[in-house]
């Protein structure tokens, strides 16, 4: 570890500022309700419960209904539900990620990724050209996707495949808003008139 004062009087040090590691937040398994993924084509049949991942490692309650605050406890759904496609026998996956879109700009989109093959968390910038025309129209900030790379053998010919399968985009309905309003009014009641 070094320490130096430069000619302008600023002191420079070189250690990392990372503190000692602490245990991350609670993470549990989530529950998938209904068919949530959209097949982009060749292999994308969906299998509920095939795997589990949470991009943020957040607490969740298995089997809990959405959006509930019970006895002051917040029930949180997993960030990435269990929607991973089953692969056909002709497909050999080499790398898989679960992703969530965080920004869309200038012909590309940013996403946070959970590495389902090697573990770890990453961020990615991906050209929109990698998506189908339909997906380019539907992609939104917050869209969830499964990204897989691997080999596929069709009629004896092996080819490299990179495939991004999106969930349907989220929809906020009047019912969502009305339910949210009850929570908002509860907050106002708790906070008083300040």
């Amino acid at each position: 570890m070094s320490l130096a004062t430069d000619s302008n009087g600023a002191v420079r040090t070189s250690p990392s500022l990372q503190p000692p590691a602490v245990l991350p937040g609670v993470s549990g398994s989530g529950r998938l309700s209904g068919t949530m993924a959209r097949n982009e084509g060749r292999n994308g049949e969906l299998a509920n419960g095939a795997s589990s991942a949470s991009l943020d490692g957040e607490a969740n309650v298995k089997g809990a209904s959405n959006g509930a605050i019970r006895n002051g406890l917040l029930v949180v759904r997993p960030e990435v539900p269990e929607f991973f496609p089953e692969h056909s026998p002709s497909f050999f996956p080499k790398q898989e990620w679960a992703g969530r879109v965080t920004a869309i700009d200038n012909g590309s989109f940013d996403a946070r990724l959970q590495d389902l093959t090697g573990g770890g968390r990453e961020v990615a910038t991906i050209d929109l050209e990698e998506l189908s025309l339909e997906d380019r129209d539907r992609i939104r900030i917050g869209s969830l996707f499964h990204w897989v790379m691997g080999y596929e053998t069709v009629n004896g010919t092996r080819s490299n495949v990179s495939r991004i399968v999106f969930l349907d985009p989220p929809r906020l309905t009047r019912r969502d808003i009305e339910r949210g309003r009850r929570w908002a009014e509860w907050l106002h009641d708790r906070w008083g008139s300040e």
């Binding site: 600023a10 917050g142 949210g180």
Partner: protein, 359 residues
């Protein structure tokens, strides 16, 4: 004195500290307001997924539950709010402050609606602000609501003013929040960008020193601040440059009217994929106003360990990956509140002079 001593030595009771942390995506500012009391502005997570502000205060030997008196979320973009829920729960003596616009039932209803969908529609930041509000609802403590020219905090040695958002930002934001109607009950809905609702802050200390923290407030918001006669009249010697140095947040009048000549300009860079702030032109523009300009990091993002086949394939599909968490640097400014004194600058980790970003 060793570097370890330097980075873990707490300020004296009558010493101001302004510590700006940022790894290249995310920023958090901690200010010692005197007598062991701190305020924290914005939050990001370290690689161990813990709010950087908590880690820093604990390293200095403080108990965050006692030491933090004010927490401000300038807006709910991911790079400013990650870990805010944990931070607010840990800062049990602190008041939480955010834009007054967020108190509206329409906004609260929507963030609950998005949260119930797993936050997919609105991103991480909305979920984080939800968790803060849910906690404050449980404990029955209202946030402090920031508006233009409002004093939000007062202690024996300092007071803190919010300078934004102004009424026009408030109005235009809610005009864009039309909820789904009966005619289109399934309409895809997204919250508008919150930069226009950013909370810019003025922190004034005993002895006449002050700091201006620009959040991500863009030019229109600064124009409103300049024309607001109700704000405290003072010139700041420290300026947290707004919106990572972007040109869309620059206004010459801010430098002319709200800042001392050649102030200490601090900036947390922003990097996402191929995009980054500040750009070279931004660096040059800031350096034209002050030579005392610093950035929290110049380090390039690291590499993600991947199978060789996958790396090769990634090159073919126009995708660029990098680790989610970078190494945070820190710009630390300290000076005495009383008597003849000037700011002392410490650059820790990958923090650097701003001109190094243009090299």
């Amino acid at each position: 004195m060793t570097a370890g001593d330097l980075s873990s030595s707490a300020p004296d009771p009558a010493e101001i500290e302004v510590a700006t942390l940022g790894p290249g995506y995310g920023e958090s500012i901690l200010i010692h307001t005197g007598d062991g009391e701190w305020m924290v502005v914005d939050s990001f997570l370290n690689s161990d997924r813990r709010p950087s502000a908590l880690a820093y205060l604990e390293r200095l030997g403080y108990d965050p539950a006692e030491a933090i008196k004010l927490i401000v979320a300038t807006h709910w973009h991911d790079d400013h709010i990650r870990g805010m829920g944990t931070l607010v729960e840990a800062g049990r003596s602190a008041r939480f402050c955010c834009a007054g616009t967020l108190r509206r039932l329409e906004f609260l209803s929507m963030i609950e609606g998005f949260r119930a969908q797993g936050s997919r529609a609105a991103g991480f930041g909305t979920r984080e602000i939800f968790s803060v509000f849910a906690h404050l609802g449980q404990v029955g403590v209202s946030p402090l609501w920031a508006t233009a020219s409002r004093r939000i905090h007062r202690s024996p040695r300092c007071d803190v003013w919010s300078l934004s958002p102004d009424d026009e930002a408030y109005t235009s934001f809610f005009e864009s929040l039309a909820p789904p109607s009966d005619a289109e009950p399934e309409r895809v809905f997204a919250l508008p960008t919150p930069n226009q609702l950013s909370v810019a802050l003025l922190v004034r200390f005993e002895g006449g020193v002050s700091c201006l923290l620009g959040a991500d407030l863009e030019r229109r918001g600064w124009t409103a601040i300049l024309s607001d006669d109700r704000k405290p009249r003072c010139r700041s010697s420290v300026f947290k440059v707004p919106h990572h140095g972007s040109a869309n947040a620059h206004l010459e009048g801010v430098w002319d009217e709200l800042l001392e000549p050649e102030p200490f300009a601090i900036l947390a860079p922003w990097r996402r994929g191929g995009g980054s702030l500040p750009r070279k032109g931004d660096v040059n523009r800031i350096l034209a106003r002050t030579p005392n300009a610093y950035a929290t990091t110049k380090a390039a993002p690291g590499r993600v360990p991947l199978d060789r086949w996958v790396k090769k394939k990634l090159r073919g599909v126009n995708a660029r990956l990098r680790p989610e968490f970078g190494t945070s640097g820190m710009i630390r400014l300290r000076r005495s509140m009383t008597g003849e004194s000037s700011w002392r600058v410490e650059l820790l980790g990958p923090a650097c002079y701003l001109q190094e970003l243009a090299a």
